[in-house]
């Protein structure tokens, strides 16, 4: 069955430290992959998306993600987190032929001062 797994419900990182949020997917064919962020009391907004091509994708605010077909993963990274990155991050996958997005359960990022 198609699925997206974000194994970490919560990640705590010190401000200025590097970050990796994990996402694994199970999907037939070549997927489109997304990371969305949800700041408190707001809807979700796109951070970055992957189309078949270069496996490393650059996003907004210094975020990047790397697609790995062999590992079925699309992990999100940032070299140095800022307190304003405190939010919930969602990984999602879709195919052009199918309207559905399959969503992960989200990872809450907490920033320590």
């Amino acid at each position: 069955a198609q699925s997206v797994t974000q194994p970490d419900a919560r990640v705590t990182v010190s401000e200025g430290a590097s970050l990796q949020l994990r996402c694994k997917y199970s999907y037939f064919g070549t997927p489109y992959l997304f990371w969305y962020v949800q700041y408190p009391r707001q809807g979700l907004q796109l951070l970055l998306k992957y189309y078949p091509g270069d496996p490393v994708v650059q996003g907004v605010n210094g975020f990047e993600a790397e697609f790995s077909k062999s590992n079925s993963s699309f992990h999100l990274r940032k070299a140095s987190v800022h307190w304003s990155d405190w939010a919930v991050y969602f990984c999602a996958v879709s195919m052009d032929s199918n309207y559905q997005l399959i969503w992960g359960s989200g990872t809450k990022l907490i920033i320590k001062p």
Partner: protein
């Protein structure tokens, strides 16, 4: 360009009431989604419209939840009758066309059912 607009931002209802949530998608978008968001279940699809036609009505939500798209720029989600377990954030999202496109979300309506 205006984003997705949802009203009201907050709604409080008594058990058994009928409530209607509203959504205006991004102008020109063809796909519109309604989601329910809770801490336990995460994002659950309620309805999906393509070019105003209902394509998916969210299985488990059929009996008390009804979404409509009266025109390409306005959609409603009716919950009738409400139950306390319906307390959640309801999100509307739109996109241009197809699975590769970015979803644009509204800020959501927080529903509390007493």
């Amino acid at each position: 360009d205006a984003g997705v607009t949802q009203t009201p931002r907050h709604e409080v209802a008594e058990k058994g009431q009928t409530i209607i949530l509203k959504c205006e998608p991004v102008s020109g978008h063809n796909d519109l989604f309604w989601y329910r968001q809770t801490k336990i279940q995460g994002l659950e699809l309620l309805s999906y419209f393509r070019s105003k036609s209902l394509m998916e009505d969210g299985g488990a939500f059929k009996d008390r939840f009804k979404a409509e798209m009266l025109n390409s720029s306005f959609s409603t989600l009716k919950i009738q009758p409400t139950e306390p377990k319906d307390s959640a954030v309801y999100l509307c999202a739109s996109r241009d066309w197809g699975g590769a496109e970015t979803l644009y979300f509204g800020s959501g309506t927080r529903l509390t059912v007493l």
